[in-house]
Symmetry: C2
Subunit: 444 residues, 2 copies
């Protein structure tokens, strides 16, 4: 127990499991559904896992199946899951930073050698505070819009706004409309705050904090923050342009809109792909060419220690710099006048390759468990679950029980796996007692 408390990060996977099981139990009760019936265990487990892992996939029609109590439960589970993952992942980073003897950029006093309960409380408060501020801003704008323009009653406008604000900032992906946010796709007052909230929540606490503190001098940012901010911007632009080019004339997606609405919808959908999970276009109606783009963006995901999933923007761009250095024959991998430690490079390789393996195995598993699901659909759904994105080409809703269970496992692994891996690596670094002679085998 003392060992656990000394490294509270070890408690995070356990806490997630308990939260999911608690949520499952509550969601099974009849007072959470609109028809007041008992919900089957697997449906409740799927929904609770999807909410706590901030994925947003569902096997029922969320707004009609659940009543207000059920939807409130989903909101709470999403918020707890989101804060839990951000806190846990930030702790890992702090523990690693202390191990390495680095000055912590996140907490002011870093004298103690171990991560204590006091640190944890302060960290949790900061993260919760940030969530509250962001979600409040979105809620205010969206409530005003729904109340004033759509003539929703004020209480209903507020509730709908709170629900979507929590989902957006936590990259949760659940929506109160059967067609997700397609009904609001050209309403900038609703869509833009949600899109910005999703991107901010997906940047991650460490990068956000450092970027905000040194916003006048981006050159002082650490490598991780530089990669996260500039990398996210690059991916946003690439996804936006890619979506515009591919979907411009598709009558099932952007084709029906005027050119300025095309820009708005493409911007919002692009923001939701990594890994918000809302959709403002019909995912099943996308051009065949869009699927590789969407799958790639989901796979890359958001910032480290954020509510986003995927291998993370830092991992992806760090590997790009590694390859670039190798192709140019540079002895060191440098990012903005800083040499990247080989330990970081190795960590990025591990995360990326294990994720590729996980996606491949998950896809094979899903194909084995189902009949007639084409490879591209299985790949899409598995990537979406593992990266906790929640977008769907319609497979999740029609899966047999075994397939639903597979997605539950994938969502859990996708959310907890990297954290557990990160903390294991952070806490178990071995001392170097002796070194073997070096050899440079030629590969490839």
């Amino acid at each position: 127990m003392r060992r656990l408390l000394r490294h509270p990060v070890r408690l995070v996977p356990f806490g997630f499991l308990v939260t999911i099981l608690l949520g499952t139990g509550l969601l099974m009760l009849p007072w959470t559904t609109s028809q007041h019936q008992y919900t089957p265990f697997l449906t409740a487990l799927f929904t609770a896992t999807s909410a706590v892992s901030v994925t947003g996939m569902s096997v029922v029609d969320t707004p009609n199946y659940w009543n207000e109590f059920g939807l409130l439960m989903i909101t709470v589970l999403t918020q707890v899951g989101g804060i839990g993952i951000v806190t846990g992942a930030t702790m890992v980073i702090l523990v690693v930073a202390r191990r390495l003897g680095l000055r912590s950029r996140l907490l002011v006093q870093a004298e103690t050698a171990e991560f204590g309960i006091g640190d944890l409380r302060r960290l949790l408060l900061r993260i919760a505070g940030l969530a509250l501020v962001c979600e409040s801003i979105i809620t205010v704008v969206m409530t005003a819009r729904l109340w004033l323009t759509y003539d929703y009653p004020f209480a209903r406008a507020l509730w709908i706004s709170v629900f979507h604000a929590v989902q957006a900032f936590n990259n949760g992906g659940f929506a109160l409309y059967t067609e997700s946010l397609i009904g609001f796709s050209t309403d900038a007052w609703v869509i833009v705050p949600l899109a910005i909230g999703t991107v901010v929540g997906g940047l991650g606490f460490p990068a956000l904090f450092e970027a905000a503190r040194e916003w006048r001098r981006p050159s002082r940012w650490g490598v991780a923050t530089k990669l996260t901010v500039w990398g996210s911007l690059t991916l946003l632009v690439a996804g936006f342009l890619g979506m515009l080019v591919i979907e411009w004339a598709n009558p099932r997606t952007l084709g029906i809109y005027a050119w300025h609405d095309k820009l708005l919808v493409a911007f919002a959908q692009d923001a939701f792909i990594r890994t918000g999970g809302f959709n403002v276009v019909d995912v099943e109606g996308l051009e065949e060419e869009s699927y590789p783009l969407v799958i790639a963006l989901m796979f890359i995901g958001g910032g480290s220690a954020s509510t986003a999933g995927g291998i993370k923007v830092t991992t992806f761009f760090l590997l790009a710099f590694v390859i670039w250095a190798e192709l140019r024959g540079e002895p060191d991998v440098t990012v903005g006048h800083r040499r990247v430690a080989t330990a970081s490079q190795r960590q990025a390789v591990t995360v990326a390759l294990l994720s590729v393996a996980l996606v491949a195995c998950g896809t094979v598993l899903l194909i084995l468990l189902t009949e007639g699901v084409p490879l591209y659909a299985a790949l899409f759904e598995v990537t979406s679950a593992l990266t906790t994105t929640g977008l769907s080409v319609g497979v999740a809703a029609s899966l047999p029980e075994s397939g639903q269970f597979a997605l539950i496992v994938l969502m859990f692994v996708g959310r907890i796996g990297p954290l557990t891996l990160g903390s294991a690596i952070a806490l178990n670094t071995r001392r170097r007692l002796y070194r073997y002679p070096e050899e440079q085998p030629i590969v490839g």
Copy 2:
């Protein structure tokens, strides 16, 4: 010119291109086809590229479309391509070894700082000698079998044996039967020599040479040889067991054979997957579950500086060791009491990730260029072309011209890409003039 001669490795891609164009011209002439007609440019180019890159894919029915002259041309192109790639890749390794100041394990005298024409001649002779010995042994066994048991006329038995022996050792993949080697699938006298020849040719000259020289003391092998030999063995066993388990009762593949024939056929097909390209079972009849296995094995490929393609066994297992070290928190990556240089790790990462990207882009390209090719089939065919394996689920033969051209490019890139990349890295390593301060960003 002097600069080119000083690094003859730079000539290799150029030599490949010239050989392919020469082969294309010759294969277009009417005296190479059984119907004595002119062959269209694209068909000739496809066949020449397939032969020189030792892939073995074809867009015509090889044994019936070409006559003996055409088939002899294919044999010569395969042999030239095979020796060319092995020589080129071995040169890269020697150049790198000299750059690093390592004692060359391949050539006795390594005093000169640059790689000279004398070295090249000696290397070529050794490689050609090895090819001649291996191909002769296969030819003798197979000729005897065809002549004595199948009552083929001696000259015909000899010709068929020479053709398949060249294809096997060079991992060429062309066969003189429309159904590849399915007709011989249970004849151990034919299949086993071809399978062993394929594996030996796919191990690569450096590993073969070192393993042969120090065969009594495997502990003295270098890291690359250890990874190649033990890794290849591991993959062979894994593929063999995987194929047996999945295909045991499949009536379109192993299901029709007695148990001892199942073992033989699975052994041979397993040996041909990475990346021989013969088939003794109907590839289109494989169980769905076999495709991921076959694609993974094709992607990994054979040994460095061999006629096999793929990312190479060393690359794959080195990355496995990197991940293992990372998960265990080891500061160094060690393989058999040797520390692996970070430069080698970075090279492996570059090769693997660029290959993943290439397979993904190639698959998307092929889907764009064709109608109704399912994703799994496109992925299979593209992986097969890029890794110069040559196995096919039937897509290649029915492609439109643009798709055929795409496969031609993929075969060429798959064969020449790694070599060009390797030599570029080897020849352009920059001096370290100054170093930036180190930073250890946390990723994942």
